[in-house]
């Protein structure tokens, strides 16, 4: 392991120098001579057959240039393949880049208008006449299961796939278990709403047959492969350019229909084309997430030891299986057991197609849902058994002696996985200490100033470091500084800063000798794998470590040639000089003429698991159903802390997103498949003033053994336990009223109705 000089320090973000001066460059900032603006006509109906599209009036509008529908795209409308864990059985459900004969959700692209301005493009949209024969909609998973209406008649079912997560054999347990409990839980559909919506700018160079696409993010290399195939181009004829982004959260940067339509439009018209998603569009076009229900059965011994967990999970995946649309459901199944020791597990997850916006991954995919189910279930079970909920968890949390610990295997895909390292009780204890559980728990269920006080706790794991590999290159510049090139992409997490810290330590140079960290775009490295599964720092950082070793070797070799000594005798001084023991030296700038560069790849087939615990103190107003988060503590062990300031910032932001999911955010559909919460006046996003008291604590007691940094992912964990923790805190507050939340979001009306129902039941019991 390398020596720490910058790693572990709260180095200020390099990115902020441009952001705070208004010098950030987002895709919306870009313009080109002759630019056309695109607007997309989206289906107003959830399910129907397109009878006709009449664009005559739209094309007659001054400033409207071209209109593209499926007819212009050709006899074969391309479909968008699955990026993560593709399976042949899912092929029928891949989304076409534009609707052909059928529309399957409100928001599905039907036509693209190209015009001289965005406003004219929208004027033209209003003039396109689309005749859609309405088909019976499939608005929810129950209708999907009934299969009276089918989204894809040719497959005869609305069930896309069923995953099974299995370990041991729970079947043998139930009959002789001390205690068994069944519960049903549900999480609502919601998603990431980034400050900056998505955007694409495409330029076609007809003379050279080259395509440049700005606005790439997350997985630029994978998206280039899809686009090249769809457009019949060689991969290296396409440059994907990453720009600054206002947030990713898993939703930005997947391959969406627009990622084909805009480049296609540029080639079709021979002019640069730009499309910027607007807010209303984002809420119907970008991936949705999290809508899941479960029926669970748990068996325990009387002492609280968990024996088995079994159940069914139903996930509403919307109208198509998008690039990563299966991940949430499979994660629910595989990670329902969380950081706990559960010997026998069988979870079946059914992915049901409905006439709603397709789903994809949103920060902590599946884990947020699974944690709500499990942590809520545990509090109910602990109460039944008369065991303190903290003790119940401590009894079942995994310890260092049990690592590596095998978790349930996912079928199909036969994916086996194991936790790498850690003592999961440590973060629980730290969390209890930070929130002062011993003292505050005395408040549970008490009325203070008319509000019930409650404390909730939950534990979690965060998966990270997806393979197969990541690449980094280090180059010596002519002035003797170094530049870092890496295949990871930035989604606002402070990647340039973290990578500069890692590179400076590995190269043993002052951080200001690093000229820049260049990431994300396809021109920088041969092949890159991007940022998802909390992998950027772990994988990209490890690749930088390897490249740094090769780079230092290359510098020593070049210096030795000039200085007439053995490479092993060359000492590198402060990133400026290469020197021999007898005092001869050559500067990095002098060496740069020889063109020194090193590129390395870090490969990894295992996952690194961060873990932690969160606790919350809430006050619930029984008359309005309102919840105030009085205090919130998040503790996570990430193996190795690169930059505690970046890390805590990510954690607090993730907690706020989690609180949005727990209390506010809900994509509500009606029975016709119309989205009822299509603006930020109805889709409630948390703001800074809503949740002012959040504290993040980070530890690094158990480095990951699977990468040279010892690091584990840190971007997603903060969101994972929030739903369960808040629901447990609300249950604790309302314990005197016998309220047990089973569904999110915990809106005032839901809490008030729960109180009313519990009250009525008690009155009936008395009578």
């Amino acid at each position: 392991m390398i020596a720490n000089r910058y790693i572990g320090s709260p180095v200020e973000r390099f990115e902020d120098r441009r952001f705070l001066r208004g010098k950030g460059t987002y895709v919306g900032d870009l313009s080109r001579p002759g630019l056309l603006y695109a607007a997309i006509l989206r289906s107003p109906r959830a399910h129907g057959r397109i009878r006709s599209i009449d664009a005559t009036a739209a094309l007659a509008l001054r400033g409207a240039h071209t209109i593209i529908t499926a007819a212009q795209i050709g006899s074969q409308v391309p479909r968008i393949p699955i990026r993560l864990q593709p399976l042949p059985v899912l092929v029928p459900y891949h989304q076409p880049v534009i609707a052909e004969r059928k529309v399957r959700y409100v928001g599905e692209p039907i036509a693209v208008v190209l015009a001289d301005s965005a406003a004219i493009a929208e004027d033209a949209l209003d003039l396109i006449r689309v005749d859609i024969e309405q088909l019976p909609p499939v608005p929810d998973r129950h209708a999907a299961a009934k299969a009276e209406a089918l989204l894809f008649e040719e497959t005869g079912t609305n069930l896309a796939i069923r995953y099974i997560a299995a370990k041991g054999d729970p079947g043998r347990v139930w009959a002789r278990a001390d205690y068994v409990r069944r519960e049903r839980f549900a999480v609502q559909r919601h998603t990431a709403v980034m400050l900056e919506p998505r955007g694409v700018l495409a330029e076609w160079d007809a003379a050279h047959g080259r395509l440049t696409v700005s606005g790439a993010s997350k997985v630029a290399f994978f998206n280039r492969r899809i686009l090249a195939e769809q457009m019949g181009l060689a991969e290296d004829a396409i440059d994907m350019v990453e720009n600054d982004v206002g947030g990713g959260f898993g939703v930005r940067g997947e391959f969406y229909p627009e990622d084909f339509l805009i480049p296609f439009a540029a080639r079709f018209t021979g002019r640069p084309v730009k499309w910027i998603e607007d807010r209303r569009e984002h809420l119907i076009a970008a991936n949705h997430a999290r809508e899941a229900e479960c029926e669970l059965k748990i068996a325990c011994r009387y002492d609280g030891t968990i024996v088995a967990l079994q159940g069914d999970v139903y996930v509403d995946v919307g109208a198509y299986n998008r690039t990563n649309g299966m991940v949430g459901a499979r994660n629910i199944a595989q990670f329902l057991s969380g950081p706990y020791r559960i010997p026998d597990i069988r979870i079946e997850a059914s992915l049901l197609l409905t006439n709603k916006t397709p789903v994809g991954t949103y920060r902590g995919p599946g884990r947020f849902e699974a944690d709500f189910f499990r942590e809520r279930l545990f509090d109910i079970v602990a109460r039944d058994l008369g065991i303190d909920p903290v003790e119940f968890r401590r009894r079942n949390l995994l310890t260092a002696a049990e690592m590596p610990y095998s978790i349930a295997t996912i079928t199909p895909y036969e994916h086996k996985d194991a936790f790498d390292s850690g003592d999961y009780r440590l973060t629980l204890d730290r969390c209890l200490q930070e929130i002062d559980w011993a003292e505050k728990s005395k408040l549970q269920g008490k009325l203070v100033d008319g509000r019930y006080q409650g404390l909730g706790i939950g534990c979690f794991i965060e998966g990270s470091a997806a393979g197969p590999r990541e690449n980094a290159r280090i180059e010596l510049e002519s002035d003797g500084t170094v530049s870092i090139f890496v295949g990871s992409s930035a989604v606002g997490q402070g990647l340039e800063t973290a990578f500069a810290q890692i590179a400076a330590d590995a190269l043993e140079i002052p951080i200001d000798r690093i000229r820049g960290v260049f990431h994300g775009s396809t021109a920088f490295v041969r092949e890159g794998f991007g940022s998802f599964h909390s992998r950027a720092v772990v994988m990209g950082g490890s690749a930088i470590l390897l490249a740094a070793e090769s780079f230092k070797q290359a510098v020593r070799t070049a210096a030795a040639r000039q200085l007439g000594c053995e490479p092993g005798a060359v000492r590198l001084v402060e990133g400026r000089l290469a020197a021999t023991p007898d005092g001869k030296s050559v500067s990095f700038a002098e060496l740069a003429g020889g063109g020194i560069s090193a590129e390395e790849s870090f490969a990894n087939s295992r996952h690194a698991y961060s873990y932690g615990a969160h606790a919350a103190h809430v006050a619930v107003d029984p008359r309005t159903g309102g919840v105030e988060v009085v205090d919130y503590v998040a503790v996570e062990d990430v193996g190795r802390i690169i930059n505690p300031m970046l890390l805590k910032g990510q954690m607090v932001g993730a907690v706020v997103q989690g609180l949005g999911g727990a209390l506010l955010e809900h994509l509500v559909y009606d029975d016709e498949g119309q989205l009822m919460t299509g603006s930020l006046a109805d889709y409630l996003l948390p703001t800074a003033s809503d949740f002012p008291s959040i504290r993040a604590v980070v530890t690094e007691t158990h480095p990951s053994p699977i990468n040279p940094l010892g690091a584990k992912g840190a971007g997603e964990g903060g969101v994972v336990p929030v739903g369960g923790v808040i629901a447990n805190a609300v249950a604790s507050a309302l314990a005197p009223l016998n309220v047990q939340p089973h569904e999110l979001p915990l809106s005032p009306s839901r809490i008030w109705h729960l109180i009313e129902t519990a009250h009525e039941m008690q009155q009936q019991l008395r009578e």
């Binding site: 301005s117 965005a118 929208e122 607007d278 209303r280 008359r623 309005t624 603006s679 005032p748």
Partner: protein
């Protein structure tokens, strides 16, 4: 979310503005702060052919204090009220209300006249000015007229403002030093429109007492029996709750569901409790 093309005119006087409004050959809308109208245009739920910008008309920024009332020009912003940069007839109620209205960025441009003229059912000013027994002054081709706020708003986004009229000012009676008020806004997050709103004003010296529910699925709802009860200084919470319930029951046209009814009751209870010492 780009607004459709629209003509834009900025008259120099209120009379000129009313003339333009009266003689427009296309759908003309008056714009002041634009905090609702521009959003509606961007969402293309409003697409006027002509915008008449009144934001800079000096007569609409006038604030005058009389012995018994203050008139606030229609283009006084929420922020000006919040910051007490204009005379306050309400002894602190209006600044307090203004500070709960949307976000500061909206408050710096949004105007009291715009809020009243639009009469969003969940907005603060229509309910608060109704509780203060304020009047609006409307200026049109045929001159000026005044209407009580309680009569001005007739329903959801519906008022008695004629097509050729501009809301010129609000005339708000001054509260006496003995007056007390209560204000409760229930909403799910900061800056949001209210789920329920209650305003109580009681001014024994003027023999005045009124309780108003806002965000009440229509125009601001005066709770008549509760208003009378407040004048007596109710001590019994159950009686108070019963009276509020009775007032809400009579408003059957509002079609409250159980939860909304509960929220309005709670908001009114709490607002009344703020005036009782």
């Amino acid at each position: 979310m780009k607004a459709p093309a629209v003509d834009y005119l900025r008259p120099r006087t209120l009379t000129e503005a009313v003339d333009l409004l009266a003689h427009a050959s296309v759908e003309a809308r008056v714009i002041a702060g634009g905090q609702s109208l521009v959003a509606m245009m961007n969402l293309r739920v409003a697409s006027p052919g002509l915008l008449i910008d009144i934001a800079r008309l000096p007569e609409l920024h006038a604030v005058a204090s009389y012995s018994d009332a203050v008139t606030l020009g229609a283009c006084v912003t929420h922020a000006a009220i919040e910051d007490r940069r204009v005379a306050d007839p309400s002894r602190g109620l209006m600044p307090r209300v203004a500070s709960t209205l949307a976000y500061r960025a909206i408050r710096t441009r949004g105007t009291i006249g715009g809020s009243l003229a639009l009469s969003d059912p969940a907005a603060e000013w229509p309910a608060v000015l109704a509780a203060l027994d304020a009047e609006v002054v409307l200026y049109g081709s045929s001159g000026r007229r005044s209407l009580k706020c309680t009569e001005f708003t007739t329903g959801i986004f519906q008022t008695k403002l004629a097509q050729n009229e501009i809301l010129e000012s609000a005339r708000v009676p001054k509260l006496s030093p003995d007056a007390r008020y209560g204000y409760v806004k229930l909403c799910r997050k900061s800056g949001e429109f209210a789920s329920a709103l209650a305003v109580v004003v009681t001014d024994p010296r003027r023999g005045y007492s009124r309780v108003v529910s806002g965000a009440a699925n229509g125009s601001p709802l005066v709770l008549a029996d509760t208003s009378r009860l407040v004048a007596e200084g109710p001590r019994d919470p159950d009686a108070l709750r019963g009276t509020i319930s009775g007032d809400l029951d009579r408003a059957s046209d509002r079609h409250f569901d159980d939860f909304q009814r509960n929220l309005h009751t709670v908001a009114a209870m709490r607002a009344v409790q703020q005036v009782l010492v």
